[in-house]
Symmetry: C2
Subunit: 147 residues, 2 copies
Amino acid sequence: MIRISTKGKYGTRLMVQLAMNYGKGPMLLKDIAKKENLSVRYLEHLIPPLKSARLIHSLRGAHGGYTLAKAPAEITLKDIIRALEGPLSPSECVESPEVCDRSGFCITRDIWAELEKTISATLAMYTLADLVQKYLSNTYHGEARSQ
Amino acid sequence: MIRISTKGKYGTRLMVQLAMNYGKGPMLLKDIAKKENLSVRYLEHLIPPLKSARLIHSLRGAHGGYTLAKAPAEITLKDIIRALEGPLSPSECVESPEVCDRSGFCITRDIWAELEKTISATLAMYTLADLVQKYLSNTYHGEARSQ
DNA sequence: CGTTATTCCTACTAAACAAGTAGGAATATA
DNA sequence: TATATTCCTACTTGTTTAGTAGGAATAACG
């Protein structure tokens, strides 16, 4: 199984919520969790990596919350997944050739390297602005947001 | 981490070895293991999924071994990884919408579906014949095969 | 017919990772 | 000082990964 974990999946949804709130001041994790029907306690874990990747800013204390660190159009899905899931390559040998003494001549490694490129390229194609636009033009939107 | 496991990685190397032996009769797992410096005991586990995907044939008993079930040019990396790693989609909701009640309107799910397409397409581009050709034209080849 | 070489099947294990929950400290506002 | 919020660390439970191990089934060969 070659799967994105809930970190990447929930984190993307969190970031889409922040994008939709962009320019309207800090957003509470509590509210994001409610809108996305996720646990605040779990979302908390996604914050440190997103902060160290400089994708979000935080404000502590009452009237605190989170904001995007850049405009939604400046943040790609690649940035988000990379921050939350780590390297996008399907094998460690791609980014760290020294972990395998075959790296110098391994043909399968070449494939994993190419696969990383197409994964990265696909994820880099989408910005948060694109996702927000998709979200808003979704016909199910009104209904889906009801809860 | 979105990683291919050793099943997919070792299994691909196993299949490349079978491809290089194509037309020369059955090959022993013992010999594949030696050439690729892998454990026979572990490679054994990769056989059942490869067989049920009809990618290899086996012959039991003395003078037994394994052969590709089709020509190397007819087997893609997608076939192999799919057989050994399961679905290529980054999220279960892509192939089984019913696992999440958001599937009907979820915009991130659309992204995971698109990502699956590019992963599948990239892996489908390469056949075992391509890998063998790469292998044989590798300058390190003579040296690397020495052990 | 018996020996040997091989695949095949099932079970077991140890370590790492995933997906959370929980307690409480630090900080800012009012 | 009370309250709302982020922040930090630890813990838990279940699943997956990466193997190892024992031995049964099968086929060839002398």
